[in-house]
């Protein structure tokens, strides 16, 4: 299909995230947008740069005991525990619906072992409509003593290499921010053959119910998301953009067009909106429009012109 050139005052918002061509840089973060249909009353989902679906595992999972979420200052903690119907149900029920709606789909997957990841990837072969696979490597890694996959560079490299070997779909590892040296992890992802990286996942946190004198969340710990973590996300993307030559899908606390511009200026090629959706379900659309307006006001022909502009 040819793009209409008659549309009034539209900038070209398209971006290339490694091998992926997105109509615009605005995606919705995994776990905050379900499998796409939940927000259809609010957003025309085919207008999104891409939809990143809920983290999916090999087998169905029932998730953690409640309470699963709790609000914190300018943020929230979640411990959903990867409740999902499993990859088979995704491929049979959700993917066809997404295909029908002409959405660019990024499948987010999670596992406990490298084998889990490669098996899910193999299962997706032959299914049309998955533009890329985002590897959530922030799950507890039993083999590594409970620390997360995403915190050990060697494991990161191995898991990326392993999935690259079994699938031709572009691979985007999603980095955990709970690490000493994010650059090292990004380098490992690149060494493993990642096509792009996604960052940041949630910071690990908790809250206490002082009346009951116990943790609020059924799972004790949860992932901190929302505006509270934006400064950390920006810093990590800045560090990685400066040190590693790999496209970045950036997010963490984005609540406005201005926030999205901050992420682009520290080096993100595309951005994701997560917790912000709960506050304002129209946010992705508003950011697309806001970026369009920003480009016109600043005479930009491509977002490339401001990508990494704030990196000294």
């Amino acid at each position: 299909m040819k793009r209409k050139d008659t549309a009034p005052a539209k900038s070209d918002l398209s971006v290339r995230l490694g091998p992926l061509k997105l109509n615009n840089p605005v995606t919705v973060a995994s776990g905050t947008f379900g499998y796409g249909s939940e927000y259809q009353d609010y957003l025309q989902i085919d207008q999104l740069g891409a939809v990143i679906v809920k983290g999916t595992t090999l087998e169905p999972r029932i998730g953690n005991l409640p309470p699963r979420i709790i609000e914190t200052p300018s943020g929230m903690l979640n411990a959903i525990g990867l409740e999902n119907p499993g990859i088979d149900v995704f491929l049979q029920q959700h993917l066809p619906w997404l295909r029908e709606h002409q959405v660019s789909v990024i499948l987010n997957i999670a596992g406990n072992t490298i084998d889990d990841y490669t098996r899910i990837c193999s299962l997706t072969e032959g299914h049309q409509g998955i533009m890329a696979i985002e590897l959530n490597i922030s799950c507890p890694n039993v083999a590594k003593g409970g620390l997360q996959f995403g915190t050990d560079p060697d494991t990161v490299e191995q898991v990326v290499k392993a999935v690259k070997a079994v699938t031709s779909i572009p691979i985007i590892p999603k980095l955990s921010p709970n690490v000493t040296d994010i650059v090292q992890i990004a380098q490992a992802a690149k060494a493993g053959g990642a096509d792009a990286i996604s960052m940041i996942n949630t910071l690990m946190g908790m809250a206490v119910d002082i009346k009951k004198r116990r943790p609020v969340l059924g799972n004790v710990f949860g992932g901190l998301s929302g505006p509270a973590i934006k400064p950390v996300a920006l810093r990590m993307i800045y560090q990685v953009y400066k040190a590693v030559d790999i496209p970045i899908l950036g997010g963490g606390g984005i609540m406005s067009t201005e926030d999205a511009l901050e992420f682009i200026m520290v080096g993100a090629t595309a951005i994701s909106v997560g917790t912000g959706l709960f506050v304002n379900p129209l946010l992705p659309r508003e950011i697309i429009d806001g970026l369009n307006q920003y480009m016109m006001e600043n005479d930009l022909t491509s977002l490339e012109e401001i990508r990494g502009a704030a990196v000294l």
């Binding site: 776990g31 009353d41 309470p67 979640n78 119910d209 009951k212 505006p227």
Partner: protein, 267 residues
């Protein structure tokens, strides 16, 4: 319109901590069913960050307005109480599955505890319009918190209050009123909403007397539309699957729920 900036036309303090807010949104009003709720953005500061779930208390379809009844319990509802008339309320909804408005039988009992009366008022209006015989029990600490009194009188239902201090109606718990003053044989269907302890007693009564009915549950929410899986709850400890309160509920059949499966967060 599932997302609305509705002009606030009435915002009153009804008692020490109870407020009533009415806003204009003809489309939302037209689509709202009893038992559904809205996700309210309480201010423009993103603090508190998340929207607050508030039930649809009443609907005026001719005016195209929705009324909310809420109690100030924390910073979200406190911020909400500062919204001025002529400002615009940022609301999502109507959300969730409402009450069954075609219950079997004719003699219907509604039991609300505290601000739990909120979703029952619009339900009373709809059932009454369908010529059901509606009796409403409302428990409150004292007379001044029987804030739905006027609306219920206007709707024309049978209203039996219970107050802790005996300042109006039955002195004692609304569940004691139910147990001592009503005949189970005179009840075809029960709806209830209120504190967990109250709903637990009502559910036990309904089950013991084999009266069908529905309850409205609460859980912390983020998205309100079924996307985040944050409001999951096991209805019974034997259930393998969890339900999403926001999308599968907040209304569930009274027999399907086991109370005290988990506690509420107290903070």
């Amino acid at each position: 319109m599932p997302l609305e900036k509705g002009l606030v036309i009435v915002h009153n303090r009804l008692s020490h901590d109870m407020y009533q807010l009415e806003f204009i949104s003809p489309e939302m009003a037209a689509r709202s069913k009893p038992g559904q709720f809205l996700q309210v953005k309480v201010n423009a500061l993103n603090t508190p960050l998340l929207r607050r779930p508030i039930s649809i208390y009443d609907v005026d379809k001719s005016l195209g307005s929705i009324t909310l009844l809420y109690k100030v319990v924390g910073q979200g509802t406190e911020a909400m109480s500062r919204i001025r008339t002529k400002e615009y309320l940022d609301v999502m909804g109507p959300l969730g599955q409402g009450f069954n408005t075609s219950p079997p039988g004719r003699k219907i009992l509604l039991i609300g505890g505290g601000v739990g009366i909120a979703p029952l008022v619009y339900l009373a209006r709809v059932l009454k319009a369908k010529n059901y015989q509606v009796k409403v029990l409302h428990g409150a600490d004292s007379r001044r918190n029987l804030v739905a009194f006027e609306k219920l009188r206007e709707i024309g239902v049978d209203f039996l209050p219970a107050t802790d201090d005996g300042s109006a109606g039955f002195k004692g718990l609304v569940t004691d009123l139910l147990a001592t003053k009503l005949k189970a044989s005179q009840i075809d269907y029960i709806y209830t909403c209120g504190p967990d302890a109250m709903m637990k007693t009502v559910a036990a009564y309904a089950n013991a007397n084999q009266i069908p009915g529905q309850v409205s549950l609460e859980e912390h929410m983020a998205c309100g539309v079924g996307a985040c899986l944050g409001c999951a709850r096991q209805l019974k400890s034997s259930d393998r699957e969890m339900v999403k309160i926001c999308k599968d509920g907040p209304v569930f059949d009274i027999q399907a729920v086991e109370f005290s499966v988990q506690g509420e967060v107290s903070r």
